[in-house]
Amino acid sequence: MNITNTIYRENILDHNQNPRNKGVLEAASFSYKYRNPACGDNIEIQVRIKNGHVEKMMFDGVGCAISTASTSIMTDFVKGKSVEEVISITQADVLSYLGIPISPGRETCAFLPLFSLQKGIKEKYEHKK
């Protein structure tokens, strides 16, 4: 089996064709726009925090299949997690929920939602200290 072909395995294709939580979020606590100049991903994430936990995360924009799928999966992954838990999500967690090997060339795409989330949270919450 061609290992790279597994990138486009079912769950990636599924989340790419039917992205979860795509659109505009009402009453977002923070948002973060991410543009990956290397490949043309242009995605904005929006998160609503209630009582220190993620109530909902949505995203919008245009991206490749990996970044779209990863972001879509992330919107479910963070639901209910505390801000501290979100800050502690690692790249390994992302690779784990994607479930397939990601080549170095596609890592930026896979980690796009992680980067955006953590940057967005830092901007929002670190100022409050």
Binding site: I7, P37, C39, G40
Partner: protein, 403 residues
């Protein structure tokens, strides 16, 4: 029975199983060029213009000869050819030196097609002096809008700079007309020839262009090579912006005077081996003949456009008329992000490029997040285009399967 050697036989890397359609990014190198680089390191590795010993004399002769080869190829004198690390460095040098004396409100006219290397240097240096950038736009078919050019180039224009051929749309710009327009208003012209010289042999003196940047590595030479041409009177007047050994005549504690051309613009130890390789690349093209190369590029470009257009869900960008375009075919596959197309083509061992191609303002103007791009080199064949087409169909089958 002996088989005729083919062009592909000259390229050692082609023994690998890849269809290389990214020559617009950098070309593959023939054995002759690789050998020229190695030969310097193996036989006469020395610095130039200094030594009295054998290797240095040999290196100096070869290096000077490299200037002559490039100059002859472009219809210029060898001291009108300055070696740099590529078109990007050439354009940076020219932008820095040519904007130095601009006044606030002076205008620099570029086109919306420009590669960042012929946009950002002007942009950043213009900011320092308060000069204003203007961008000539396109016709529907991707050719340059000359009416718009006539509108934008006025007596306020001091510099008109443009690429000869677009690295995204393949558009061949109306070079002569733009130079005439610029000169009619007393503006100096700077042409970015990076995508031009792999498929054409411009006679720079006949063209009348003031400055012309080129990349050696796009015309079968090594990476880290290239240069620019300037009319002698202008180069003699132009103040250098990079200083050091080799480009001076006299140096005291307080001040320095400059060496003669081309040395004035070649500070420090140059990429000697690279320059020899670049000259060899030009000789390689000369051996095939530019008429043959141009025809080959045109044939394959036309074939590629035809085949891609015939695919469902594929849109080709840029002028459809082969007279107006050259060597570069950008396209979009409906519903599939360019990055995914490139990844899936890579699985089929077809190498294309995807993204914004160092032309973000153009992507914005075209209203696309990025594009896929295939480009032609002299080793490509119709079979390569067929492989591209098969690869796209494969990509569509993978991405569009129902889940």
């Amino acid at each position: 029975m002996t088989t005729q050697p083919t062009i592909q036989d000259d390229f050692p890397i082609l023994t690998q199983d890849t269809v290389y359609l990214d020559s617009a990014a950098t070309s593959l190198k023939p054995r002759q060029v690789i050998d020229a680089v190695s030969e310097y390191y193996e036989k006469f590795n020395a610095n130039v213009h200094r030594g009295a010993f054998g290797w240095s004399v040999e290196a100096t002769n070869r290096f000077d000869q490299a200037h002559e080869v490039i100059a002859e190829w472009f219809g210029a004198d060898s001291d009108e050819i300055i070696f740099t690390s590529g078109a990007t460095q050439s354009l940076n040098i020219l932008a820095q030196s040519l904007t130095a004396d601009l006044q606030e409100g002076d205008e620099i006219v570029l086109t919306i097609l420009e590669h960042h290397s012929n946009l950002v240097p002007w942009q950043q240096h213009a900011k320092k002096v308060g000069a204003v950038l203007k961008f000539i736009e396109l016709n529907e078919d991707g050719t340059l809008n000359l009416d718009h050019a006539r509108e934008l180039i006025t007596d306020k224009t001091k510099i008109v700079s443009f690429m000869a051929v677009s690295n995204v749309l393949g558009t061949i710009l109306p070079i002569k007309e733009l130079i005439e327009l610029a000169h009619a208003h007393g503006a100096v012209t700077v042409v970015d020839g990076a995508q031009h010289t792999p498929h054409a042999r411009p006679n720079l003196r006949a063209l009348g262009v003031d400055f012309y940047a080129f990349s050696g590595h796009k015309m079968y030479g090594p990476t880290g090579t290239g240069g620019f041409y300037g009319k002698r009177e202008l180069l003699e007047e132009l103040e250098p912006s990079h200083f050091g050994g080799g480009m001076i005549s006299e140096v005291s504690r307080e001040d320095s005077t400059w060496n003669e051309l081309p040395h004035k613009f070649e500070p420090g130890t140059q990429n000697i081996a690279g320059a020899l390789g670049m000259a060899e690349g030009v000789l390689y093209m000369k051996g095939i003949g530019m008429a043959t190369i141009t025809a080959h590029t045109r044939t394959l470009t036309t074939y590629a456009i035809e085949k891609l257009q015939s695919l469902d869900g594929v849109k080709v960008y840029g002028p459809m008329n082969p007279v107006h375009r050259n060597g570069v075919i950008s396209f979009e596959v409906e519903g599939i992000h360019p990055h995914d197309v490139a990844d899936l083509l890579n699985q089929k061992k077809v190498a294309i490029r995807s993204g914004h191609h160092c032309a973000m303002p153009l992507m914005e103007y075209l209203n696309v997040p990025g594009l896929c791009r295939a480009s032609i080199g002299l080793y490509n064949t119709k079979a390569d285009i067929d492989a591209l087409v098969e690869g796209i169909v494969y990509a569509q089958s993978v991405m569009n399967q129902s889940v």
